[in-house]
């Protein structure tokens, strides 16, 4: 029993084979759904894949744009998870960070250009997201309030707060009833299709912007944080064995609070991509579930920055491909696309163990057999 848990299956199984099997299973069940409404699943998947990777109509760019959001929220979940914390408040943390975008842009976008505004927005997003993460972190560390419950509650508070802020404070400054006005175009990071001509290529319209590079940089920073810093060492110790943390003189409460601040800041960065760069204004519910999807992304990416990039690409492709599908096959309604996306999340996230445990058990049994042979051969 303890032996089984102690032996790990090979890396290619954990981050390659198992996610692939999960995806295949999800697509198989999705095929049944498509068949049910009388369409050809093969054709549907072809459209989805083509829609997600084609460069003709900005398919690939939009996939990457979605992936940018998923990388930020996925990293947020992963960092918290390394400390043994389940942060499901990414949605709210990102949403509140939108307020920082509005604050900076509405006050400064007429006086400063993008080179000054963008760093301020990054700082604002990280700070507001961190604040929204650190409060549940503090409550967990000092009061024992469970982080899952408090982060969910903070999502609701964020929704109410932002609705109020948009309607009462922000929209009167020039937007529609629930939106802000557009940020001044000089103050916003140009999108890839806008930059393309000056870089010597053509790109069709998409929401993709160089923020993707910021997201990839965050991946590298998170990797360094978790595996190369003392804080990361402390985070992983607290997450894996709190007793050992006490033994090592690590203050678990402090680590929990700091981790939630970092996690919230990463989630907040999603607003940098969405509310600042992509939409160019603050819209009601602009987070539209990207924060929650970060949980599935982190799960599928095994809480590793590299895995998260891959998972974010997959979910980005699902989002973009799903949009194409609605155009091409009108009988597949947006709700049907949601069902397919949901099934992928279901099999890779919620039902993770359904595939993982039996597959890992096979490899573990092999590893134990080898270990036993080694033990018999001499200690």
């Amino acid at each position: 029993m303890s032996q089984l848990a102690a032996v790990e299956s090979p890396r290619w199984v954990r981050i390659g084979l198992i996610p692939l099997l999960q995806l295949v299973l999800a697509l198989a069940v999705s095929s049944l759904v498509v068949l049910m409404i009388g369409e050809d699943p093969i054709r549907a998947f072809k459209i989805m894949i083509h829609g997600a990777i084609s460069t003709e109509f900005g398919g690939l760019s939009n996939t990457l744009y979605y992936a940018t959001n998923f990388i930020f929220t996925g990293l947020a979940v992963a960092v918290a998870f390394h400390a043994g914390l389940f942060n499901i408040g990414g949605e709210g943390q990102a949403y509140v960070a939108g307020l920082a975008v509005a604050l900076v842009c509405l006050t400064l976008d007429s006086t400063l250009n993008v080179w000054f505004i963008a760093p301020l927005v990054v700082i604002g997003c990280a700070a507001f997201g961190a604040l929204w993460g650190v409060i549940p972190g503090y409550l967990q560390a000092k009061r024992g309030s469970h982080i899952v419950v408090t982060t969910i509650m903070f999502n609701f508070i964020a929704t109410a707060l932002m609705s109020y802020a948009l309607v009462v404070w922000i929209s009167p400054l020039g937007g529609n009833s629930t939106d802000s006005r557009y940020w001044a175009s000089d103050a916003v990071i140009p999108k890839v299709h806008e930059l393309a001509p000056s870089l010597g290529f053509e790109a069709s319209f998409s929401l993709l912007s160089p923020v993707l590079l910021v997201a990839l940089a965050c991946c590298a920073l998170v990797w360094i944080l978790i595996w190369r810093t003392r804080l990361g060492f402390a985070i992983r110790t607290v997450g894996s064995n709190p007793n050992a943390a006490t033994y090592a003189g690590i203050n678990a409460n402090r680590v929990i609070i700091i981790t939630m601040a970092i996690s919230g800041a990463l989630a907040g960065m999603m607003a940098f991509n969405e509310a600042y760069a992509a939409q160019g204004r603050l819209i009601l519910n602009f987070t539209s579930g990207f924060g929650f999807m970060g949980i599935a992304v982190a799960l599928m990416g095994r809480n590793h920055p590299f895995g998260i990039v891959l998972a974010a690409l997959l979910f980005g492709a699902l989002y973009q491909g799903g949009t194409e599908l609605q155009f091409e096959i009108p009988s597949i309604s947006p709700q049907m696309v949601l069902v397919i996306q949901g099934l992928v999340v279901f099999f890779t996230g919620a039902l993770d163990r359904l595939i993982r445990e039996p597959v890992e058990a096979v490899f573990q049994r092999r590893a134990i057999a080898n270990a036993n042979a080694a033990v018999a051969g001499g200690n």
């Binding site: 032996q3 810093t229 003189g249 200690n379």
Partner: protein, 532 residues
């Protein structure tokens, strides 16, 4: 001849490469109290879990009252008349005694009828076995001893004629222990068979009729209690006749390193775990702390190493890092203790000493990870790996693979890694718990030699161990703990196991356990005297 209440025939249970139970045979006669003793990890709990249906044996047979039965889960065990009282109670604290007793046996949708039925049955059982209790009391409000009584009532209400008690006295005060033994007496006289799992030999001698000894997954001996003695049982448990002799010169104690002054600790349940502990520790000596597991040693170690705040008392440290007086309320954490010149090998390496999922190299710096030599500002893996290789080389940790997951090392090698980490820094004070638990003989000698070497280099070593011969062969002075208090201090070269055994069971104050039963404890005392 009557059939045994329980008969186990060649029970085998393997977890991966580990044999938890190997060819276990056991006969328990009806209407007796049968003790099962063994060290931690000897396989007692696994065996009882098999009997109660938590695990299924790989091979072997179980007979209850002469009938072959197949126990796949605890419902089947209950149906066969087997009840279990767990070490950690399985009670719903906000429920009343009555509700807890009938839990899972309500019978129908509405509770009223079941309740009155259960109340009648409960009263009847309580009066038959002398288990008085208020059926309407809230379980969470009851003292631990009475909660345990509820567990026993639960088992009896389910028709148990065979009762398994797993380490029942580990959470009890001495008075409650006395009361429990009275209950076991009365159960026995009513024909109930009791299986008592413990590692406290005193209890075995006081209450059981027969005793079986387990060691390393095997059943090594069966004895009638009145024809054995604690010394023999201890030897059977440990499996060694000879003391491990360690070459050592007499100690030359130097200056005082640590003075512990009236340290006390009261746990969350309000139980006094430590009572006014005072002693001093000098450089160049090994001070052994002897005692049966669970008599306050763990709490003492945790307090001295900064993992736990004491309730009363103070400690002063005089090390190369200066003089520090530690007081309640401003107790340092484990990291500060290390800065004050303390090394700590924890009793339970998997719980405290290492993170199983970490690479060996990461565990090699656990607790010292803030030191600049491991890279600054970022951790430098090559520095850590080199440091780890050095530790592995010096302490012969095998395999010498710093990148291997710690869980994949054997227990002995994990322990050597922890020892290397704590001792290679040459701290002025070394606090060491169970240094050789789960370690093979070869490694034990190696570890012992290194402890003596550390002492001779001037370390002040506090050695906590439940292995008496380990303490006897390593320590220069020995303090003995029982029930959270120091019951005596002796010079190692002038004492023996018998004297220590007496101190381990004697009490420092009037909180003496009361065994109001016939004969057994008296006989035990007499034997002690004869042996002395």
């Amino acid at each position: 001849m009557t059939a045994p209440a329980i008969e186990l025939k060649s029970i085998n249970k393997r977890f991966g490469p580990v044999w938890a139970n190997r060819d276990i045979d056991l006969k328990v006669m009806p209407g007796t109290v049968h003790g099962i003793v063994g060290e931690n990890g000897a396989g007692k709990s696994t065996l009882m879990s098999i009997l109660y249906g938590f695990y299924t044996a790989d091979t072997g047979q179980i007979l209850v009252n002469g009938q072959h039965i197949n126990i796949q889960n605890s419902q089947q065990a209950i149906a066969a008349g087997i009840g279990m009282v767990h070490q950690h109670f399985m009670l719903v604290e906000p429920f009343t005694v009555l509700e807890n007793v009938m839990l899972g046996m309500e019978g129908q949708g509405l509770l009223a009828r079941a309740q009155s039925k259960a109340r009648k049955a409960l009263n009847e059982i309580a009066s038959r076995y002398g288990l008085d209790i208020d059926p309407d009391a809230i379980v969470g409000d009851l003292p631990v001893g009475l909660q345990q009584r509820v567990e026993i009532l639960k088992a009896l209400y389910r028709g148990a004629k065979i009762l398994i008690l797993d380490e029942p006295t580990s959470v009890l005060t001495p008075q409650e222990t006395g009361q429990l033994f009275n209950i076991l007496e009365s159960l026995r006289s009513q024909g109930v068979t009791v299986l008592l799992i413990t590692h406290k030999l005193r209890e075995i001698m006081a209450i059981t009729n027969h005793v079986s000894v387990m060691r390393a997954g095997k059943m090594v001996a069966h004895r009638d209690t009145d024809r054995t003695n604690p010394e023999e049982l201890a030897e059977l448990m440990v499996g060694r006749k000879v003391l491990l002799k360690v070459d050592k010169r007499p100690a030359c104690p130097g200056e005082n390193r640590m003075t512990v002054n009236k340290v006390g600790y009261v746990d969350d349940r309000g139980v006094k775990r430590l009572k006014d502990i005072s002693f001093s520790l000098r450089s160049g000596e090994i001070l052994g702390v002897a005692g049966v597991t669970g008599n306050g040693q763990s709490e003492l170690m945790k307090i001295l190493t900064g993992a736990l705040q004491p309730s009363t008392g103070s400690v002063s440290l005089e090390t190369g890092a200066g003089v520090h007086v530690l007081k309640v309320g401003e107790w340092p954490d484990a990291g500060q203790m290390r800065d004050y010149g303390m090394g700590h090998v924890p009793e339970d390496r998997l719980q405290q000493g290492v993170v199983k999922s970490f690479d060996a190299s990461e565990n090699a710096i656990l607790g010292y990870h803030n030191k600049e030599e491991y890279g600054s500002p970022l951790l430098k893996p090559e520095n850590i790996v080199n440091a780890t290789l050095e530790l592995m080389e010096a302490y012969d940790v095998r395999p010498q693979l710093p990148s291997l997951k710690t869980a994949n090392f054997s227990g002995g090698n994990q322990q050597k890694l922890v020892l290397a980490r704590e001792m290679m820094k040459e701290p002025d004070i070394l606090i060491i718990g169970q240094p050789t638990r789960g370690v093979d003989i070869g490694a034990i000698e190696f570890i012992h030699r290194n402890l003596i070497a550390a002492r001779d280099k001037g370390a002040a070593v506090l050695l906590v161990s439940v292995e008496l011969d380990e303490i006897l062969s390593l320590a220069d002075r020995i303090i003995v703990m029982n029930d959270g208090a120091i019951t005596g201090e002796v010079v190692a070269s002038e004492t023996n196991e018998t004297e220590l055994g007496v101190l381990m069971t004697s009490t420092a104050d009037a909180d003496a356990p009361v065994f109001e039963d016939k004969g057994h404890s008296g006989k035990y005392e007499k034997k002690e005297e004869a042996a002395a």
